[in-house]
């Protein structure tokens, strides 16, 4: 092996590292190791002067390897790789030693911490000598997008993409667009018409040259990888259409909770116990009536039906509180001499304009009654002498009283749950689901619309219960992410990925099922597996599993890892003795 010229840079990180680790001592000790041409400590390596120091050393001293002992590589590895590139050497000739998170932040003893920093960095020096020059590769990006689901999310995403001039295939299972929003009359908290919101979207979509709407259709198969998917969509006649797409947006939404599962609420047994969607239907028809055709005098809204309960769904369905308040307003305006009671656990009015809306519900004299999770309301039929059809038993929390409220019509605010086919969809597009069945995002806060599969995005209530603003925001965010990829024209894959040595591969296919990213493909003709590098995340699962040792992870080769371990071992043996 050719002798390397290594530059070692020990960062003070202000006082973050320097207050525990004696950085000068570490730099001095490492400077004596064979192959190390220069070892320096500096206040902030990530600063411009710090990076400039590395670039200058590469150019003046002819360094061909660089070790930076600083923070976690998650933080600044890209920064220093860029510095290497600017200095004129391959960026993968960098190795970082984490002496902040793994050293100064977790240890108090300066002597031991300094020793550990020295050892970690010398292990990095050992490893970096085995680094190979790696090149990033790109694949072309297909600009067409498949949108699954024609609800408000799918419509918003499709329009955003098509308005930017890109082709969209909008696939909807039902025979109409609009999804669950299409079943709603007004929206909370501003009481705008849901139909108006949808009509504008649907009209534009039907006229849009760049959107192909496919009703009563379903995705049969999705193969390929980011930028180069092949979607097979089955139309109503059972014919399969092959669609090349670069990205997929999953907007499959939710279904409502089946209220008949809760026996104490008597849904399906007492005719005037209805769900929120049934009330929407009545409001849309313009008449709120009991099954007997009478105008109800007492209307009760029961929150959290199926939500926030250990027995059914532990999560909050987010939209029901405001929807219930909307009903209070709608019922009061439709039947001015009615009495509306609202049975809630907690009132969640967090959205824009929602708290005001809650206050306004007091003005229309809604009787708010707080019940406890563990004592849900019970509904029973009233007697012939009562002036109401039913009674609801409630253990009211704010008064501590057990009460019975008269009711002619009871509206159950049914929560949201994943669709029955969410498992099939997840399997088709290779994304994960949480324990409830909602699709999982790449990062709940920082990457809420991407998934673990590159090129497959999720938007709206298919990932968790959401209101219309959040759903539309997610749909447009997903579209923006896709448009950014299309604008680049190609997908750059990281140079770090797994490779199969086809000469060693026995075609056992163990790695095929193991790969969490479906990046390993089996070639039936060659009877060998190979990795689609654009999809590989370099997790190493296949490398470890391969019984033939045929798979190699670039930048994580056995030799590199053994070298690093050897770098640590002398330190270990010193301590044992």
């Amino acid at each position: 092996m050719k002798e390397c010229k290594i530059g070692v840079y020990v960062c003070n990180c202000g006082t973050n590292i320097a207050k525990v680790v004696n950085v000068e001592e570490v730099a001095a000790a490492l400077g004596k190791i064979d192959g190390v041409a220069v070892a320096r400590s500096y206040k902030y390596m990530c600063s411009n002067p710090g990076q400039e120091m590395i670039i200058q050393d590469i150019q003046k001293l002819g360094l061909d390897r660089v070790v930076v002992a600083a923070c976690s590589p998650r933080m600044h590895e890209p920064t220093f790789r860029k510095a290497l590139e600017n200095g004129g050497i391959n960026p993968y000739f960098l190795e970082m030693a984490n002496i902040r998170e793994q050293c100064s932040w977790v240890h108090d003893d300066p002597i031991e911490a300094t020793e550990k920093a020295r050892v970690l960095t010398s292990a990095a020096i050992k490893r970096v000598q085995y680094h190979e020059a790696l090149e990033k590769r790109s694949v072309p990006m297909c600009p067409a997008t498949l949108v699954l689901g024609g609800g408000i999310a799918g419509l918003a995403a499709a329009l955003e993409l098509a308005d930017a001039g890109q082709q969209v295939y909008l696939v909807e299972r039902e025979n109409r667009l609009g999804g669950n929003v299409g079943r709603v009359d007004l929206t909370a908290p501003y009481l705008d018409s849901a139909r108006d919101l949808l009509t504008e979207f649907i009209t534009r979509i039907n006229q849009h040259a760049k959107i192909a709407v496919m009703l009563e259709s379903r995705l049969a198969e999705l193969t390929g990888y980011v930028g180069n998917f092949q979607a097979r969509v089955e139309d109503p006649q059972g014919e399969i259409k092959e669609l090349p797409v670069g990205s997929v947006v999953v907007c499959t939404g939710y279904k409502e909770f089946d209220a008949s599962r809760i026996k104490s609420l008597a849904y399906g047994w007492l005719p005037n116990v209805i769900t929120s969607f049934e009330l929407e239907g009545m409001i849309r028809k313009g008449k709120i009536l009991t099954k007997e055709g009478k105008v109800p005098q007492y209307v009760s809204l029961i929150h959290c039906v199926g939500s926030r309960s250990q027995e059914y769904h532990p999560y909050c369905s987010r939209v029901c509180c405001m929807t219930a308040l909307k009903y209070a307003h709608e019922i009061k305006s439709a039947i001015p001499n009615s009495y509306v009671s609202d049975l809630y656990i907690d009132m969640h009015a967090f959205g824009k304009g929602c708290e005001d809306f809650y206050r306004k519900s007091f003005e229309v004299k809604t009787m708010f009654l707080m019940y406890e999770k563990n004592h849900p309301p019970r509904i029973r039929e009233a007697g012939p002498d009562d002036d109401c059809g039913m009674f609801i038993w409630v253990k009211e929390q704010l008064s501590g009283e057990e009460i019975e409220i008269p009711a002619d019509l009871v509206v159950l605010m049914v929560g949201m749950e994943p669709r029955e086919d969410s498992g099939d969809v997840a399997h088709l597009v290779n994304i994960s689901r949480d324990k409830h069945g909602w699709f999982i995002e790449s990062h709940p806060k920082l990457d809420p619309v991407a998934t673990t599969t590159d090129g497959v995005f999720i938007a709206g209530a298919c990932s968790s219960p959401k209101d219309i603003p959040d759903t539309v925001a997610q749909a447009r965010a997903a579209a923006a992410r896709i448009l950014a990829k299309i604008a680049k024209g190609e997908i750059w894959a990281d140079a770090v990925y797994a490779e199969v040595d086809e000469d060693l591969c026995s075609g056992c296919r163990m790695c095929n099922e193991l790969c969490p990213y479906a990046a390993v493909e089996y070639d039936k003709v060659k009877k060998r597996s190979h990795v689609i590098y654009a999809m590989c995340k370099a997790c190493g699962a296949c490398v470890a599993a391969c019984p033939s040792g045929a798979i190699k992870a670039r930048h994580f080769t056995d030799r590199q890892i053994f070298a690093q371990i050897e770098g640590v071992l002398p330190w270990h043996s010193n301590h044992v003795s």
Binding site: K365, M367, F368, E402, I403, E404, I405
Partner: protein, 387 residues
């Protein structure tokens, strides 16, 4: 047993002045600031919740509204403007109408116009009756003694009949009040001897209104003004009532001043005048939260009382000045105010004169009975566990 909710109840209470109770979100600031609220009688928060929920049956049995004197601190502290003080006031009005068996009270509270009309009608009938009597049996130029226009003996017997009628109506109401509050005490056993043990509370609270003075116990600067004025008004009223009912002959005699009765009369008049002027100007200026919302019946209350005192004073002066005919006419006007005023008593706010001390008495008994029950439970506790 679950309590039946009456969703319409909150609408009903609007007539009695509870306009803002719906705004309450139960932070409990009102109960925290109240000097009278404690662990047994929690208010205004609890009655406000009951009212929001339409728990009419619970409120009917409630003693809480009577334990409040409306100092107004709760309404000042309320972050939502739900007016807990006014709500308690409206509950007192409603309770008065519930205790009243005739249903007249309810009609009055629902429409001040009806009440005003009734007052005017009674006043006119009174005037006609006394004028007919006066002109038939007496001389308008004679105020006192033989041939007097309105002789003391006649007025005295009229007063007694009126008092008897009032007493009867009030007695019925008081029994209803006792029935609501004490007989439906919610499973609480009340030994009979507690009624005797706690009886002292009745005169004690009636004559001192000590509880009213305690309203200010949590305030930084205590002025005791509302309490003192109220006490003066009430004592003045009671003294005047005793004078009129028992010593009318001597009161009406003249023109010499009989200090043994008139001294008390003057004293009572001062108390009544200060009281009525203080409450009338407070209501006009709305200087404190408790005076901001005056109902029709409040104005009739203050207004009538003021005219009674004024006409009483003037007839006394005219008589002393020897202006007997003017004194007689003033006397008729005075009676035109007094009779409707007395007749209103069982049906209006006026009745709190009786209900409030009674409520204090009942509250004392309830508190004692609860303590007994607790002691018993503590004694019986371990035994029951063993069984």
């Amino acid at each position: 047993m679950a309590v039946r909710v009456n969703p319409k109840f909150i609408d009903e209470l609007e007539y009695y002045g509870a306009q803002d109770v719906i705004k309450c979100y139960h932070c409990g600031n009102c109960s925290a600031v109240c000097s009278h609220s404690d662990e047994v009688f929690v208010f205004p928060r609890r009655p406000m919740r009951f009212l929001q929920m339409g728990l009419q049956a619970k409120l009917e049995r409630s003693i809480d509204p009577w334990l409040c004197y409306y100092c107004g601190q709760c309404s000042e502290q309320c972050p939502l403007g739900a007016e807990p003080g006014e709500t308690m006031m409206s509950l007192r009005r409603w309770l008065i109408s519930r205790y009243d068996i005739t249903g007249i009270s309810r009609r009055y509270f629902k429409s001040p116009k009806v009440e005003l009309l009734a007052v005017i009608l009674v006043a006119l009938l009174t005037a006609v009756g006394f004028l007919i009597y006066g002109f038939k049996y007496g001389d308008i130029h004679v105020y006192d003694g033989a041939n007097a226009f309105l002789p003391a003996s006649f007025i005295h017997s009229f007063d007694l009949w009126l008092a008897a009628a009032m007493f009867f109506l009030l007695a019925v109401n008081v029994i209803r009040m006792w029935y609501f509050i004490m007989s439906k005490a919610g499973g609480l056993h009340i030994p009979w001897w507690l009624y005797i043990k706690k009886f002292y509370l009745l005169p004690w609270q009636f004559f001192t209104q000590k509880r009213y003075s305690e309203c200010e116990s949590k305030m930084k600067t205590r002025i005791f003004m509302p309490w003192l004025v109220h006490l003066g008004l009430m004592l003045g009223y009671v003294i005047m009532l005793v004078l009129v009912m028992v010593f009318l002959h001597r009161l009406q005699a003249g023109p010499a001043i009989d200090w043994s009765v008139h001294a008390f009369g003057y004293l009572a008049t001062v108390g009544l005048l200060i009281g009525t002027i203080y409450f009338a100007t407070s209501r006009l200026k709305k200087k404190q939260v408790q005076y901001e919302k005056s109902q029709g019946s409040d104005w009739i209350f203050v207004g009538l009382l003021f005219f009674i005192v004024l006409t009483g004073v003037f007839q006394h002066i005219f008589h002393r000045l020897g202006l007997e005919m003017i004194a007689n006419i003033t006397y008729v006007v005075h009676l035109m105010c007094v009779v409707p005023w007395l007749l209103r008593m069982p049906f209006t706010k006026w009745a709190h004169l009786v209900y409030r001390p009674l409520a204090m008495y009942f509250a004392g008994i309830r508190r004692n009975a609860l303590a007994l029950q607790k002691d018993e439970a503590q004694l019986a506790g371990p035994v029951r566990q063993a069984a």
